[in-house]
Assembly symmetry: C2
Homo-oligomer: 189 residues x 2
């Protein structure tokens, strides 16, 4: 749903080709959403069939496939845009990345390896966060800032959680190390 919203939203600033849309989204990296080229074309075709977009054939342009298809927002499309916008802002959907599943089965790995893997994860988060921070322009409009703030909030939460998880696991592995130490040296009863 938010993918359609994104496409309609980008078309508010004037007609564009599918490739234009793709490039804009890709250029913003993580900020917007994950939307592959093939999917962009699929979605704008569907939006067109639903009457939300209008296609025109721009003949004799530069570039390959000399005739490019240019998409324009219709009045219906504008209406649909605000409908979707309201829905997206209003409703909260939690996204599952799969760590929860990983945690549930974590005991199938030796504790030391689990700690090692979580540490790798922590590093990955830190690097991803840095990438997002890099892309932030201080002069961005408030709307953009809210979006960036959201992204960073989630990443920070992930970071803090992973730190806490590591602490817990470390305590656990220390305990078991102590136990085996005790067992090893008190030899029986």
């Amino acid at each position: 749903m938010h993918k359609e919203l994104l496409l309609l939203g980008l078309l508010q600033s004037g007609p564009k080709t599918g490739y234009d849309l793709y490039r804009i989204i890709a250029a913003h990296g993580e900020l917007y959403t994950d939307l592959k080229k093939g999917n962009v074309y699929y979605l704008i075709e569907r939006l067109t069939e639903s009457g939300y977009l209008q296609v025109k054939l721009e003949a004799g342009a530069r570039g390959p496939r000399r005739e490019r298809l240019i998409y324009t927002l219709t009045d219906q499309g504008l209406q649909h845009f605000t409908d979707l916008l309201r829905d997206v802002v209003r409703t909260y959907e939690l996204a599952h990345t799969g760590v929860e599943v990983g945690m549930v089965f974590l005991s199938y790995l030796p504790v030391d390896e689990a700690i090692q893997l979580l540490e790798e994860r922590r590093q990955a988060i830190i690097m991803r966060r840095a990438l997002v921070v890099q892309e932030i322009r201080a002069d961005a409009p408030v709307a953009m800032q809210l979006a960036q703030d959201h992204l960073l909030s989630l990443m920070d939460a992930e970071l803090i959680w992973s730190t806490r998880a590591l602490e817990r696991l470390s305590r656990e592995s220390e305990v078991s190390a102590t136990v085996s130490y005790a067992v090893g040296h008190s030899s029986g009863s």
Copy 2:
């Protein structure tokens, strides 16, 4: 990927039917992942074709379709499970729910409505969080606790962010209200 992991993981505690798997996942609500029935059947069939599961036809059982298909983890499946488990824990994937897109285009709505919608969102988060908390058993194994903690961390981050966003928008709307007040009463230069 984590969906396959979940299925393989659940099969560690013994052979099960597709429906069993579905029920277990559904019973845990938000905790695991979003996995529809149709998708469960699709995935276990694929896992079977890849040699990770073995099917047996349990004939003459009670229940409808008297012959149920029972799936068992193979040795390859066990290997694949740990491979996936490592991958899932190690790699960080950020999940896009679409709020970012909503925020980017928020200025297309009147500020008052934006505030109203974000407030609805905040309420939705609070209720979802309560649902998750409800399902928490204090006697759950550490692994489960880590998973629950992760979920709650993300929800809390979402909550804090939305509160902050609302504050920002409110300040903004106050400013514009003051401006229109000033304009309304000073009637021209």
